[in-house]
Each structure stands twice: as C-alpha cells, then as structure tokens.
Subunit: 185 residues, 2 copies
Amino acid sequence: MITWLICYTVLTRAGFTVKSAGVNLENETYAVCSRNTRILPDIPSLNTSHADSDILILPGGGPGAKTFCNSKTVLQLIRKYRESGKWVAFICAGTTALVASVSDAKDGSVGEKVRVTSHPSVKEEIVDAGWEYGEEGERVVVDGKVVTSRGPGTAMLFALTIVEEMLGREKMEEVKGPMICAERL
Amino acid sequence: MITWLICYTVLTRAGFTVKSAGVNLENETYAVCSRNTRILPDIPSLNTSHADSDILILPGGGPGAKTFCNSKTVLQLIRKYRESGKWVAFICAGTTALVASVSDAKDGSVGEKVRVTSHPSVKEEIVDAGWEYGEEGERVVVDGKVVTSRGPGTAMLFALTIVEEMLGREKMEEVKGPMICAERL
Ligand SMILES: [Cu+]
C-alpha cells in the first residue's frame, strides 16, 4: 500500500497519467489493503485490454502479491508488456508475480528471466525458481526494462528510478526536490 | 497522502490502533487526496469527541492543510490534545494547522508556541506568526510533545520518530527492520 501510493504520486508528479486498477476485489468499489487501509482504484477491475500504458507496476504486500500470482489476467499482462518491449516494475513481494508470469506461461510467450530483487521474505522462492538475485545492498535493480525493489522503505527510490529511467535524470531531480527526500535513498 | 499512509502503516506495525478520520469530506464516504487518489477513512467525519487517542497526527498536502486550518473541530482538537498533555504531530503543510490552533484560539485555551518545522513552502507564514523554526537539515523536530516534519520524503523518519518517542528505540527498530529503509532517513 505504501509502495503503491508512493509510485502513484511520484509518477503523477513526473507527468504520467497514472491509473490504479483493482485485481479480484472482494468489494466492488474498494480495495482492502495491508493494515486495513482502503482505497478506491481508478479502474475497478484490471483486464487484459489494459495493455496500452507505457509501464505496468505491481506493488504488494504479501497477500496482494499472492492475488497477482493467482490472476491469469495479471500474469498475461506482464507477458504482454514485456513482449511489446514495454517497462514492467515490481516491488516488495510483487516480484513473485514476475516469476509466476514466466513459470506459469502456457501460451508460448514466456519472457526471459532477468536479474531482480524483492522483499527478503520471498527471496528464497525467487532464487529457487532460477532467477539471478541482486546483492543485499542493491535497493533497486534495473535489468533491461524490468525494475525491481525491496520494500516500503525503498519505494521512493524505486519510483524515482522509474522516472529517471523513463524520463531522464533532470525530470527525476525536479520531482524529487519538493519531496525533501533523504540524501541517500 | 503519502505522509498519511506512511504514518498509518508504520504506527499500525508498531501496535497502535490507528484510526483515520475525514474532515469535511465532499463525498460522504471517501476522501479525494492529492493526485486524485481516493481513500476511505475509518471515521467518516472527525468531531471534538474524538479526543481519546494518545496522539493526533495531521498530514497534508496544501489543500488538506487548508481544510484543517479552516476547521474549528480540528483546531479545537489540537488544543484539547495539547492541554491534556498528549502528543500532537504535523507534517508537510500540516504544521500550519498547529499555528492556526494558537493564532485563532478564542476560547482561552491557546497552547504554547514551540520549535517546529514544515514543508519549505509554508515556512514563511509559520515564521511570520512568530514560531521558532528548525534548521534546513532538521528533517524532524521534536519539542515537548509536538513532532513536526517536512514532506513526503521525510514521512518515514517522522513516523518512526513518533514510534521511538512514544514506545522506545527498540520498538522503533523492530518496525523499521522489515521495511528496508535507507540508512540515514
Ligand atoms: Cu505536501
């Protein structure tokens, strides 16, 4: 939820039109997130037609990440984005959805394994699935057009890295300034 | 909104029962926050009976802070909390509500001016109102039971400082660990 929100606001500040989308919401209008915070996504239900953005970002939260991993729509969208040479980004346990998108692919479009990071709690399953994993100190890993990161405390760096990779350093600095970030994120 | 959410989740992780409350919501059920994110507060409408928590935290967002400053309920609650020797905390433009709670007091209960910080964009009005203001590099200022901080990028330090002040360093470190924070927040 922190990771989602930081991405949402940082990318909006950078000039992106950001749309949040629900995945299998129990309630039709709002998502119940970690710590029982509740948000109303811009798109109530993600479907595979939502493939026209420049980047697909999956946050999460253990339970949220499980929902992603179990959603054929999410896994298919990840493959679609990667096939079209678009950016994909995962933070916290969200990286497990990227792994699942490759492991569970039955439609021929698999997607390459890349170098990633994630929340430490899911490192083992990612490494076991044969993915190259970043060093302890790497708070964000960029490999090709795949950006991954570790947890709520790395979300600001994650979001700013996405801005820098996609729009350049100058735009990133412009967005970072008014937020009064720590010197070393 | 980032500041709100980081406080909400960090304090919940620390074991607090956190309740978010709406202030003059245009819609009855949800708050439209910065960047058009929408959240459902736990308490739809704050009123002066909500004075039994251990701490009152006001985030904000320019428009949110203006709403706080114009709400007699908010200003009265700030005074109530301070009178009862409870904690109050303000981040970003939220500090202007603390200033207003003293400037606009007409009920005898004024509250002392303390040393504070805020988002740089509202520094001038705070200094003009006669409040002592923290140095540039002070990302969080604690004076008595008043905690203030600067912006989205200092929200994690702000929330963890509240945890440390109220529950001690050990609890703070316990909460901080799994979030993978930067070394120097
Ligand atoms: Cu702000």
